[in-house]
């Protein structure tokens, strides 16, 4: 997409606003910016077609003569990417920085939903950079962000701001749930990053994230090793990276391996049960299940049929099962101890 020479001078605006050279705008100065991991494609298409409809707000820094972004970070990024040289902008009067920050924040809140990381950055700036009291944050700013007024929520969001960049990016993109991120905060940075890489590789849903993290955390505590080391285990890395297998199957296999390690004795019993089931040679329309976690001694047999012949075949299979030595084995495992 190319911008015309007319557009490169900046969009036509009805009001008389100053035209600022884009190179005078410090895009790296994020003092008043909370936008994080923005999605720019649709904005880029819009600006390329019709230019900017809402001019950004800039603050002139007298010492350097450069401009700081108060509001409009995404628009300025797009303008730069499209090769614009100038931008028409509102210039903020010499208000204090907190006022400017809140102006930018509320302009954002009025026009779009902030992602989790943006909310956490906003709160982090209010607490750290602008030194607002906890009471002010709970009374005014947490509710303004749609987060209620629970002190625990404030603490959580302030902690999220300190997560490592790759984790924050996944969080902003919705690949990591807040619940998972909250759990990740209890881990070391190395463990967090290792888990983040696993999530990226296996594309896990929110429930699976929680399950994987719980399994890994328990295995790490049991084995007195870190999650980072656990995930470096050759058996796990080969499953995670197996190029012959589709990602969902990789995730399934890694999960099975983790469950086996976390619950070795239940896994052995389940294997034994499956072995005996094979020996029973049940036809496909007969399914045999044990009581959940082998807690009881009952087995359940389900017969699926759609014809007299299938029912008769099931009856025959049941009769054979009743005589089978494998049945005795099956009934015996209920009474077996485990070391």
């Amino acid at each position: 997409m190319s911008a015309s020479s007319e557009q490169k001078k900046g969009p036509i605006m009805p009001m008389q606003l100053p035209e600022i050279p884009l190179e005078a705008v410090d895009l790296r100065d994020r003092t008043l910016v909370i936008t994080y991991a923005p999605e720019l494609q649709s904005l880029r298409e819009s600006i390329a077609r019709v230019g900017i409809q809402q001019p950004p707000i800039l603050q002139k820094i007298p010492r350097s003569g450069r401009y700081r972004i108060v509001c409009g970070y995404k628009r300025l990024l797009v303008l730069e990417a499209l090769g614009f040289e100038k931008v028409i902008a509102h210039l903020a009067s010499a208000e204090n920085e907190l006022k400017l920050f809140l102006r930018g924040l509320h302009e954002n809140l009025g026009t779009r939903s902030l992602n989790v990381v943006e909310k956490s950055l906003a709160l982090d700036k209010l607490a750290g950079q602008f030194r607002l009291s906890r009471e002010e944050m709970l009374k005014d700013h947490l509710p303004a962000l749609g987060l209620g007024s629970d002190p625990k929520t404030l603490d959580l969001y302030l902690s999220l701001a300190r997560l490592e960049e790759p984790i924050k990016q996944d969080l902003a993109a919705g690949k990591i749930s807040i619940a998972t991120a909250q759990q990740l905060l209890t881990l070391s940075p190395e463990d967090r990053l290792a888990f983040g890489k696993l999530l990226t590789a296996l594309v896990l849903g929110k429930n699976r994230q929680r399950e994987f993290l719980s399994l890994l955390r328990d295995l790490s505590l049991k084995g007195k090793t870190s999650i980072n080391e656990l995930l470096g285990d050759p058996q796990i890395t080969s499953l995670v990276q197996d190029p012959q297998v589709q990602v969902p199957i990789r995730a399934k296999r890694v999960r099975e391996l983790l469950i086996r390690r976390r619950y070795p004795r239940l896994s052995r019993a389940a294997d034994e049960f499956e072995e005996i089931k094979k020996k029973l040679r049940l036809p496909a329309h007969l399914s045999l299940t044990a009581s959940p976690f082998f807690e009881g001694q009952d087995y359940r047999l389900t017969i699926t049929f759609r014809s007299r012949e299938q029912l008769a075949a099931a009856q025959k299979a049941l009769a054979a099962m009743a005589e089978s030595s494998a049945l005795a084995e099956l009934l015996e495992i209920t009474f077996r101890d485990q070391e």
């Binding site: 328990d218 505590l221 049991k222 619950y263 070795p264 004795r265 239940l266 019993a269 959940p292 976690f293 082998f294 807690e295 009881g296 001694q297 209920t334 009474f335 077996r336 101890d337 485990q338 070391e339």
Partner: protein, 367 residues
């Protein structure tokens, strides 16, 4: 002798019982402890809000309140498992010990150490309860929602209840404890109608999981004192914890029991494996991050509570039972909250239901 003397950091007193003798006695005991009068217990609970660990804070605060509900309740038991038909005397709730596995952490609606001052009501309810049943025998205990003796030097419940039960032919009192606070029991008239029981565990479990409780050896020394004072003795291995090396450690405790107490004096020994309400796991992980008990192979049982994989607990029960029976085959061993299947697998027999187990236990202590 192992257990520290309890002293609350703050006392809340419910207005309606502030002038009762029991309340006055407790307030006189700790004259320098700040006291706040509250119109209802909820105000004391509210005072814990904002504490980083309200459960720990609750263990340092004492609420002296009025028991408005019944003092005597049935042990709630658990669905689909065989219960022993116990009755609970709720004279106090919560405990100053801080065991990692304690269900009280997630069970109590008032997370403060709470003691009820309307003791006249307690005694009246006991009179009424024990005279209501026809030919029924009752086993009652104070150690279900608290430790029976941990705070007894302050509360003095044993001094009230032990002599009371001494002339009751249709009931027995069980005092369950992990502590060594038996001094006050020594001169009481008990007439064999009180069983003093100790909750026991393997020594590494005691050190790691039973914060504030004395070592097993000291508990058994206290048991020996009670045995010598003529009390029947009970032991509860609950919760048994599965960890590498458990066999040797638990076997050592079994040996130690019989070095301290004559088997003839043992009313019963119960065995129960680790289990807890599902919501407790998060509390254990948060409050006791060093504890590894939640890392066991625990799965939801028929009551929805996580408990060890059945073959694990069966094996533990069978071993403990064998070691106990090697010392004396007549010691009565029972399982706490277990299924008929596990009873048969572990002990080779099953009472089949609560009524029969209850009767068997009654027989052990009937006059």
């Amino acid at each position: 002798m192992g257990t520290e003397i309890f002293r609350p950091q703050k006392i809340f007193v419910e207005r309606s019982i502030r002038d009762l003798p029991f309340t006055r006695k407790l307030l006189d005991r700790w004259p320098s402890v700040p006291v706040q009068i509250v119109s209802q217990p909820q105000q004391a609970v509210d005072a814990l809000r904002g504490e980083p660990d309200p459960i720990a804070a609750g263990k340092r605060s004492l609420l002296i309140a009025r028991q408005r509900g019944p003092f005597i309740k049935r042990c709630p038991g658990t669905k689909n498992y065989i219960c022993c038909g116990y009755r609970i005397i709720n004279a106090a709730t919560n405990c100053d010990l801080d065991c990692t596995y304690c269900i009280l952490q997630g069970y109590l609606t008032i997370p403060l150490l709470t003691v009820y001052a309307n003791l006249d009501d307690l005694m009246a309810q006991l009179d009424s309860f024990l005279s209501s049943g026809q030919d029924e025998f009752y086993r009652l205990g104070t150690g279900e929602l608290t430790d029976s003796l941990s705070l007894d030097p302050s509360f003095g419940h044993a001094r009230l209840l032990v002599p009371y039960f001494a002339d009751k032919s249709n009931a027995i009192l069980e005092l369950k404890t992990k502590t060594t606070n038996v001094e006050d029991l020594m001169d009481l008239e008990h007439a064999g109608r009180t069983v003093v029981s100790w909750s026991l565990n393997a020594e590494p479990v005691v050190r790691k999981e039973e914060h504030g409780a004395p070592p097993v050896k000291e508990r058994l020394q206290a048991a020996r004192r009670c045995y010598r004072a003529g009390y029947r003795i009970g032991f509860h291995f609950d919760p048994l914890i599965d960890y590498p090396g458990w066999e040797e450690d638990y076997r050592r405790v079994v040996e130690a029991i019989f070095q301290h107490v004559d088997p003839q004096a043992i009313a019963w020994i119960s065995l129960g494996a680790l289990r807890y309400p599902p919501q407790l796991e998060e509390i254990i992980r948060r409050r006791h991050p060093q504890s590894e008990i939640v890392l066991g192979e625990l799965f939801p049982g028929k009551d929805g509570k996580p408990r060890y994989f059945r073959p694990i607990r069966t094996r533990m029960f069978r071993k403990l039972n064998t070691w106990i029976k090697e010392h004396d085959p007549d010691v009565f061993v029972y399982l706490c909250m277990e299924s008929d299947l596990v009873w048969r697998q572990a002990l080779g027999w099953s009472p089949g239901n609560m009524a029969r187990l209850s009767r068997l236990l009654d027989e052990r202590v009937k006059p």
